[in-house]
Every structure is written in structure tokens, then in C-alpha cells.
Amino acid sequence: MAQSTVTDHAALRFGAPEFEDIQGIARFGYGNLTSACFYLLRIADLALAREWLRNAPVSNAVARNPPPETALQVAFSVDGLRALGMVPAVLEGFSAEFLSGMAGEEARSRRLGDIGTNSPGTWRWGAGSVPHLLVMTYATPARFELWKRELTGSLWDRAFSKLEELTTSDMGGREPFGFVDGISQPIFDWERRLELQNVEAEYRNLTMLGELLLGYPNEYGKYTDRPVLEPSADPDALLPPAEDRPNTRDLGRNGTYVVFRDLRQDVRCFWQFLAAEARAANRTPQALAEAMVGRTIEGDPLVPWGENDVLADELPDESRRNQFTFNRDPEGVHCPFGAHIRRANPRTADVPPGTDSALKRLVQTLGLAPQRARDDVIASARFHRILRRGREYGTALSSDDALQPGSEGEERGLRFLCLNANIARQFEFVQNAWIMSTKFGGLTEESDPLLGNREAIAGSRLSGAFSLCRGDGVRHRLRGLPQFVTVRGGGYFFLPGLRALKYLASRV
């Protein structure tokens, strides 16, 4: 079998996970810390900024009981690293996407769907005014104000100038349209027990640590490029050695990239559109919304659940809502092909389902296997996973209230944050090839029903469609979907390991 196996000898080979060196957000969503705020800062005074960073009580990933009541995380944009005095030779070790930035090139904006009303020119932040630092603060509601005051004292005021203070709100685990969110997540192999196969014939949520953190093997079994220094560049020996190059110092180890996208959600527009379409589709507005998401409003996937669909002993506490594939719904009858969760994570393996024997594998590899039109169209999911850590903002608006007339006086939406080790292969791929593509999985004239920008493409009559497949006959298509989500800002950040943070803060 080519299904991945897990071994128990790994701990001996690699030692325990370095939780004390990893910023906690890589392991925890801080679900109990329901108050959060994201500061976007520019460095006003380098020496004072370093001083603040040296003394900042940045949270690590060690599990505590009871869980802490506060948390603090710090990440840097490429401009921020430059402002901290990082020399070009070191800077060049970061990935090209990070160096260029989310809004740095028109070509990138085209790929990400940041055109039209999403284009960086219209952003509140991230295009003209690029932050140096992203400071993420979390606390229980009781502690939150005090926690912010503790962090943002007079040193903070002198060290930084504040571009934005992005508030969040607790919507009880639901995103502003009303759906339970954050269910589909990769599960990282902290213990490094996963033995990679050349061809993974089954989908799994368990994911190589190197897809999240720099300095560890990724899904190809390789170390993603990152800044690795000569020992002379680290005279105080603050940094850990690089696992793949023992005589060097790894600035990336236990660090990751944060992708931040500030998304405004037009909740009224969403529910009013669905209410208008419901009659023609012979469904309730909620059922239509659920088809567009691919889950019920409570978060259960629309596909039938099957035993052993996903690598079995993955996680005992793992919810069934994340243990499924779309193999039981190859025609998109239960969950439409274009549904948001099917685009964001199609849960595909390296080979189409049923490729289980060596002979079938060979025939498949040569491209000679008989197959249906859509069988091998979507890329293997394991190379394109992201860890989502977003928070909602604004006041919640129920679907009932959204149907009432009223002006959208107040903004609401999602501070979308995700973590990944290779922005191009993970976030950008998902955003480009799966979310925004009007050609995803053989579909046509439709992008993601929630996130799509509805920009027309050449040769197509429409761009804002959404197809519901009935399986026993003719599809039903919603047409003229408005743009429900607009990008208001965004950026790429490097979230260093804690030793690397110390190194960055202490450089002369």
C-alpha cells in the first residue's frame, strides 16, 4: 500500500518538537482568547524597536494547563526586516514571493484575483503604506484591555508608528455569513512520525511539518529554501544549526510565513441574493448558501461520510467534519464541484481514486488509464495546504436581519490569516488555481461562490455563475452572483522562531 505509514521511532531520530522555540499561533488558534487585535506598525526608531522586540513577551507553542490568558505574536514584512538592518545577502534567502510582497507586482495581483474592485490600488493598507511589523495580540475579554496597555506603553509609542489597529470580534466560531468556520485544517506531524511515500494514493490531513515550518522536510521530503547563515554571521550563536546543512545557522527554523488578507464581507448582499434566487432553485436561501459553501451552516460536510476515508489513526479527537474526501461524490451531486470547501481543499490524492495496485499505478503514470473526464484534473491536495488563523471583525448580522432593508453602515468581514512555508506553492496556488480560477475542476464561467471577484475573462459569456448538479439530470445554475467579498488590504509576513526573533532584535 502506498498509504502513508507513521512510525514510532521518529522521536529517537529527531528529538522532541521544539515548542519552546515556535510561536504559539503555529500550534494553537487561541480559541479561548476570544479578544484579539492586529497592529500594523512601522518602525520609527530602530534602537527602541529592537529594545521592545527584545523584551516582548512573545508566546511560544508549549501547551499549558490552564491555558494562558494572553498571547502575543510578532511577524515582519520584508520592509520590516530591511528596516531592522538585515543585509541583502541574508534577505535574499527568503522566498521570492515574500521579497516581492503580496501587492508588489501586477502579475501577482492578476494571479491572486486582486483586480477590479480587489486591486491593491483600492486597499486600505498593504499597497501604498506597507507595514514593517504585524503584532498580533490575544487575550480573554477580561484581560484584553490591560494586556494591550501592557504591550503598548511609552516605549512602544516611541519605537513605532501605528498604521492600523485592526480590531476583531468574537462571532462564536462563525464567519460573518453565518457559517461555522475553521474546520478544515491540516494536522501537522509534530512528532515527525510520517514516512513519506513517493506516491500517496490516499488523501490525508496529517501533513509534513515542513509545510508549516521552515527548517523541516516538506511533502516532497525536502527542506524549503530559507535564509541559512554562515556561523560568522551569528557570533553569539543565537540561531540553531540547519538540519540539512549542519555547519550553518538556520534563521528560518521554526519560523513560517503569514499571509494576511483583510476581507470585507457584504452579508446583506449575500443573503438578499440568495433569497431572490431561492424560488427558482426550489431551495431555501440557507440550502443554497450551504451548497455554495459545501457545508451545512453548522459545519457538517454535504458529502456522505464513510469509514476510513482518511488516514485512520490521524487524531482521535479529530472531528468527523474534517475526515472525509469527495471520492464518494464524484459527480458533485451532494457537494457541488464549485463549492467553496471543494475549491479550497479538494482533498485529492496523488492519483485518482482506485489506483491501488502496482500495475494500475504504472498504467496511470504513463497516462494510459481509462478514466472519466474529471478524474485527474485537480492537483494533489497535500502540496497545497494552509493553516488558517483568521478572526472576524465587525458586528454579526444574522441572515434574517440581513434580509431586512437597511444600509450597510458598518463593515464586517474576516481578517484572513494563514500560515505556510512556501507561499507560492501553498497560499498562492490555492488562491490562483482553485479559488479564483474560472476553470477549476473543469467548471466554466464561475469562480469561488464566496470569494470570487466576478471579473470577466475572454471567451466567456458570464463570470459570476454557480452550478448545482442534480446528478440525475440537468444542472441548475445561479447566474449573476455579485461580488460578496472585497479585499481591503494584505501582506506577506515572516513569523520567526523565538531564537530567530532574538537574533533579529539583537543585531547591531
Binding site: A379, F383, R425, I457, G459, G473, R475, R477
Partner: protein, 433 residues
């Protein structure tokens, strides 16, 4: 069935004329790199048999790479290449090009060595025609006319389904199909849908194709005693070289990548081209010649129905030797963005890439010609980024359509034209629409 053929013209750019040529080529575009189909120099859109075409300046992005073998840098003068894939004979296309756009072509090729106003343009272009060592066509026999007719058919049927889906859905599969057939029939009568029968297969092509089908296995069979004798030596040499050939995989210059990215993603399809040195010596050259010969055979007789190996996103591709077979380029037209194209390559046909590209200087290390190499994702991407060239002018006759769309549209038509289908077949067919 009218098979496709390719046209390739290559000529050295005259000294000092490159910048002027670039500026001229840029005037053909509506967006950087993306041709205006009606541009006055070469209005591609007027050639009804032309699928894709491009002008590209072949300028070695890695001239110093041979130094890893201790060999001196050989800088080859930049070459202008014109590539086109068309229905029917490429000779005819060439003649039409000259007949319709002589002035434009003259102004372009006047930037090349040995071209003067007194030249006969057609003769000159014929003299500079080159043949690819291997070529791939996504769907042999699918013509531009067919693609356009079927796209219009899909548009009409799709709109019909949008308008009448609810009423249709309660019907039996057979009745749904009947109604769609009646609708298409009415559209045809009204002249809104045209579905011409496919053109007859040229007899000459059929004979040549059949001879090729038989001759190559026959030659292989006859040569097999020699090949088997050579095999141990081949494997010994291969391993010796694989373990010693140096990798040349520096991080690509961000500026190099940006220049190319600025030309990409104007359409759902993108042009692609990588150029590099072959590893020096007879061993690699003979290996790659042999393998390309096999690839060409495979593309002709096996992979001629929508996919090359497992990769379904390539419309047209070719492998071409140049500069006395010291260098090679691979040019393709693929669906999606570059990163997804490379991921598709790596995850689906790493073995196939290794077979050919591992004979290029600096390629990530392979084992037994098949293993390793491209499966080192990041190194492989660096390798490709470094060798990629910007395409100055690119044209595609059916913007917005992917190879999947073309296949789906053909299946739609098949379902309309077939004499009968089972309920199950109809269900699958409807699900594609």
C-alpha cells in the same frame, strides 16, 4: 480529419538590431506579450487555420553554464524564432503568410542576418525553416474551425440549459437529450449554430502516419540486438555521468522572473519556453536524440487524444535542437499559471521530464534517468525559472478556452450527433455541461 502541423522559422538577429526588433515586436501586442489579433504587421486572427503562434527571441539566459565542465563560454548570437501550429499543411500556411503579410514579415525579418529587400521572402523563410525533434498536439485532428463551432454550440446549449433547466430536469434522460438535439437542430436551421463535418484526412498524411507507426517499431526491433549489446555500456556510462554531472541551480534572479511574469496570465493559457545547453559529449546527445525520437512517436500515435502522459493542460509543444545541437529548447502552450503547470509536471510526469531534461547542463541529479531530478521540487523550479525566456508576442485563436473546455465541447457535440446513448451515458454527458 485534418491533422495539425507546425511551422518554425529561425534566423540569427543581425548585430546591433536586437533592441529595434524588440520594439517592433512590441507594437504587435495589445498587452505586453499578448498579441493583438488584428495587428498590422501580422494579423494572426485572419488566418483561420492558425491555432497558436509566437515570436520569441532565443537568447541564451545561461551562457556561462558550460564552465562547470571546464569548457569555454560559447556565446551564440540571439536568434529570432517564429512558431506556429496550424491545421493542414504548414507549407500552405507559410505561403498564405507571405501572400497576406509580406510587408510586415519583411520588416520583422529585416532584423535578421542575410535578409535584404532583394530576397524572395518565401524562399528566405523556407531556407530558415527548422524541424522540431519532437512535437505534441493535444488532440490530433481538432481544427480551429471545429473549436470555434463547438464553442458556439456550447454557448448556445449552456444558455438553453440556463433558461430551461427547471422544465428539463423532470424529464427522462432520453427526453432531455432529444430536446437538446431538437434545440440544436433549430439553432442550426436558424444559422446560429454551425457544425461542419470534419474534413477528409489527406491520403498522403494517412500513408506517412501508417508507415511511421510500423517503421519505428520495426527499426527498433531490427536494432534491438545492437541496443541490447549497448545497454550495459549505456547503463555504466549513465551512472558514471549521473553521479558526476554538476548541478547548476542557483536561485534565479528575481528580476529575470519578474520580467517574464509580467507577460503571463493574460489568458487562461500561457506560452512557455525554456532553453539551455545539452551536456557536452556524444553520450548525452545520442541519448536525447533517441528519446526524442520515441517521444515524437508516442505523441503521434499514443498521446494524441487530450493528454501527454497524465498532463492534460498542454495544447501544443515542441522540442527543438539549435546551435549545432549544442542547445535545445522546449516550447509549449499550457493552461493555468506557471506554478500550477510546474506542479503538474512534477507531480504527474517527473519521470518524463527527467528522461529528456536531465540531458541538459545543470539539471537536478537523477538516478537511472527516471528517478530524482524533477521530484526535487524547488531545485527543479529554479532550474526552469533560470532557463525560461520571455515570449515577445503570443497569439491563441480561442482565448478563454482551456484544453478541458475543448474536450468538453467536443463531447457535447458527440452526444448531440450520436445515434443513441444509454441513460447512464446521457447522465455522464449532462454532468459535463
Amino acid at each position: 480529419m485534418l491533422p495539425q502541423s507546425n511551422l518554425l522559422i529561425m534566423a540569427r538577429i543581425a548585430r546591433g538590431r536586437e533592441e529595434h526588433l524588440r520594439a517592433l515586436l512590441a507594437t504587435m501586442n495589445q498587452r505586453p506579450g499578448f498579441a493583438d489579433p488584428e495587428n498590422p504587421l501580422l494579423p494572426f486572427g485572419r488566418f483561420g487555420r492558425l491555432h497558436v503562434a509566437r515570436f520569441v527571441i532565443l537568447k541564451d539566459p545561461t551562457p556561462d553554464d558550460l564552465s562547470v565542465y571546464g569548457l569555454p563560454t560559447r556565446s551564440f548570437a540571439p536568434t529570432l524564432a517564429f512558431m506556429a501550429d496550424c491545421d493542414g499543411s504548414a507549407d500552405e500556411l507559410l505561403a498564405q503568410l507571405v501572400a497576406l503579410c509580406e510587408a510586415g514579415l519583411r520588416s520583422i525579418f529585416s532584423h535578421c542576418d542575410g535578409f535584404s529587400a532583394s530576397n524572395d521572402l518565401l524562399d528566405w523563410m523556407r531556407q530558415h525553416r527548422a524541424r522540431p525533434a519532437a512535437a505534441y498536439v493535444n488532440w490530433v485532428g481538432r481544427t480551429v474551425r471545429q473549436i470555434r463551432e463547438e464553442a458556439a454550440l456550447y454557448g448556445a446549449v449552456s444558455a438553453y440549459l440556463d433558461a430551461n433547466g427547471r422544465a428539463l430536469a423532470v424529464e427522462s434522460p432520453q427526453r432531455i437529450r432529444r430536446q437538446l438535439m431538437d434545440f440544436v437542430e433549430a439553432e442550426k436551421r436558424a444559422g446560429r449554430v454551425v457544425l461542419n463535418p470534419s474534413e477528409p484526412t489527406p491520403v498522403g498524411w494517412r500513408i506517412r502516419n501508417l508507415l511511421n507507426l510500423i517503421a519505428i517499431p520495426l527499426v527498433l526491433l531490427m536494432a534491438s540486438p545492437l541496443l541490447i549489446l549497448y545497454l550495459p555500456a549505456f547503463l555504466w556510462l549513465l551512472r558514471r555521468k549521473e553521479t558526476r554531472d554538476p548541478e547548476v541551480l542557483p536561485r534565479p534572479q528575481p528580476a529575470h522572473r519578474s520580467v517574464i511574469a509580467a507577460l503571463e496570465d493574460n489568458d487562461v493559457t500561457n506560452p512557455y519556453i525554456v532553453l539551455g545547453y545539452l551536456k557536452p559529449g556524444w553520450f548525452r546527445l545520442s541519448t536525447v536524440i533517441f528519446l526524442l525520437w520515441i517521444v515524437d512517436y508516442g505523441a503521434r500515435h499514443i498521446y494524441n487524444r487530450g493528454h501527454l502522459g497524465r498532463v492534460q493542460t498542454i495544447h501544443f509543444a515542441r522540442w527543438v535542437f539549435l546551435n549545432d545541437r549544442r542547445q535545445m529548447f522546449f516550447a509549449s502552450n499550457y493552461d493555468g499559471s506557471l506554478d500550477s503547470y510546474m506542479d503538474d509536471f512534477i507531480n504527474k510526469v517527473a519521470w518524463g521530464l527527467n528522461l529528456l531534461f536531465s540531458n541538459g547542463v545543470g539539471y537536478p541529479r537523477t538516478d537511472w534517468l527516471l528517478v530524482g531530478g524533477a521530484s526535487d521540487e524547488q531545485k527543479f523550479k529554479y532550474y526552469l525559472f533560470r532557463h525560461q525566456l520571455p515570449v515577445q508576442v503570443w497569439y491563441k485563436a480561442y482565448p478563454g478556452l482551456t484544453s478541458f473546455d475543448l474536450m468538453r465541447n467536443s463531447r457535447l457535440r458527440e452526444g448531440i450527433e450520436r445515434s443513441s446513448m444509454t441513460d447512464y451515458e446521457i447522465r455522464e454527458w449532462l454532468n459535463l455541461l
